[in-house]
């Protein structure tokens, strides 16, 4: 009887310190938008670094390309767009596309967040002229990332 009481007490204590399992959820991570704008000259490239907070896809959209002058019509010149990681003095792209400005993402790539180090969760978006520019242009790139 004494042994039985001891076992019951131990079982009760053991149960009290176990973590209650929770059902996994399939909620997609929230995503943030950042806008990368600047002026690009013929033959040049530019990049923008960002940190992802969760593991999910990142979208890059060239939404606007204008001559670097006021009241000029929008340009439909194809540009190189990419997603990658900063390396050296550039962005080493792993996913690229060539596209004129548009409303839908031109490049989408998986991006991974590393919980132990924010530095391991840094990516970059890159834009480059592929020969179509004849003068400086003002660009706006939208980056949507987790």
């Amino acid at each position: 009887m004494r042994t039985l009481l001891a076992l019951v007490a131990a079982a009760a204590l053991n149960a009290s310190c176990q973590n209650t399992p929770t059902a996994p959820t399939n909620t997609a991570p929230s995503r943030a938008s950042q806008y990368f704008s600047g002026v690009l000259n013929p033959g040049e490239s530019a990049f923008y670094s960002f940190t992802v907070a969760a593991t999910a896809d990142t979208d890059v959209t060239l939404i606007s390309l204008l001559p670097d002058q006021a009241a000029s019509p929008a340009l439909a010149i194809p540009m190189s767009l990419g997603i990658g990681t900063p390396a050296g003095t550039d962005c080493r792209t792993t996913s690229t596309a060539t596209s004129p400005p548009g409303l839908s993402p031109q490049v989408t790539a998986p991006t991974t967040a590393t919980i132990s180090s924010s530095a391991a969760s840094i990516y970059c978006a890159r834009i480059a002229d592929i020969g179509g520019l004849t003068g400086p242009v003002a660009f706006i790139v939208k980056i949507v990332h987790p």
């Binding site: 042994t3 009481l5 131990a10 053991n14 176990q18 670094s49 390396a87 050296g88 003095t89 924010s118």
Partner: protein, 138 residues
Amino acid sequence: MRSIVPALIVSALVAVGCSSPSVAPTPTPADPTLSETFAGTLKVGGSAFYSFTVNQYGTVNLTLNSLAVDSQPSDIQLTLSIGQPGGTDCVVSTSQTTAAGSTPQVTGTFDPGIYCAKLVDIAPLPSPGVFNITIAHP
């Protein structure tokens, strides 16, 4: 009394079993075994940065080896920093204002990830400066 003792012993054992795990020992920083060269021309009042990947927790050393202005060695001080790439820049976390020299001017220990070395002209330089930086990291 006899009926309580076994229960207390068992519950004590259970309590030990579900207590928090012991704290992991602090890892020893790895030595910088890789070397990259960041060289270029710094504009008057300008800045430049270079991104590199630290592969494991360890020591990063930055050495501004040389600075030349108008083709002559210069002892003008610049700001040398380590940080993380952010936006169109390098967001610095450790900085040192220094002239060129042969020993590391900026050092630190960092987790694996992508970092950047940044050089800023604060003097300002009388004309563009040609620089050479060694980045040593694990």
